[in-house]
């Protein structure tokens, strides 16, 4: 199981996975306060996507993703959430390339 490095990549693949199998796909958010770690996982029991972070700024992205998945799950896989994804990527995006630290 490999962690997806890029958030945009992760979100895109997660949505594709959900649309391919809406009933079999689940989205898990794991938070460990004492270590300040957040792990997001999307899996359909065949493929598995994971994203790991310890940055507060990623919590906002996670919130956006929560909203997308709430919408998709409650309204159906064809639900539109265009306004949430079509936002232009933030300019500081390239800067967070080397986050250096791993564990």
């Amino acid at each position: 199981m490999v962690y997806v490095e890029s958030w945009d990549d992760f979100l895109e693949r997660a949505v594709v996975m959900f649309r391919a199998d809406p009933v079999g796909t689940r989205y898990v958010m794991k938070y460990r306060h004492c270590d300040g770690k957040l792990v997001l996982k999307v899996t359909d029991d065949r493929g598995c996507l994971k994203f790991k972070t310890d940055q507060l700024q990623d919590a906002k992205k996670m919130e956006k993703m929560n909203n997308i998945f709430f919408t998709l799950m409650a309204r159906g896989p064809d639900a539109e959430f265009v306004e949430e994804v079509s936002q232009p990527p933030t300019p500081q995006q390239p800067a967070r390339k080397s986050r250096g630290r791993r564990q």
Partner: protein, 109 residues
């Protein structure tokens, strides 16, 4: 598994996060489900019969809630508030750190 309404679920979720502040992990799972056993599920189940099932656990206690189309929007916002209040162990942006680290990394490699 305790199936709760949206508001009690959020209260319990808050408790879960508070209980696991010093040690422990909290998992929250979202899933699309009809809450029917697999065998009874029919192909013609309309999209409306599906709900968003929200489950949360710390490995000991389990809670869940099932959201309909109507309440998912309100829940979404309340949920975001709960998360914001409890995910305060994450790090603030490390802009200064990064600048210091980057040159160091370059010289290493």
């Amino acid at each position: 598994m305790v199936l709760l309404d949206a508001d009690p679920f959020l209260n319990e979720l808050t408790k879960l996060y508070e209980h696991n502040r010093d040690s422990g992990t909290v998992w929250v799972t979202l899933k699309r489900s009809t809450l029917k056993p697999h065998a009874k599920r029919k192909d013609e189940d309309s999209a409306e019969s599906y709900r968003c099932l929200v489950r949360a656990t710390d490995g000991k206690k389990k809670i869940s809630a099932s959201l309909t189309l109507k309440d998912h929007h309100r829940f979404q916002m309340a949920y975001a508030t709960v998360l914001k209040a409890h995910m305060d162990a994450l790090k603030k942006r490390e802009k200064k750190d990064k600048k210091e680290k980057k040159p160091a990394a370059v010289t290493k490699s």
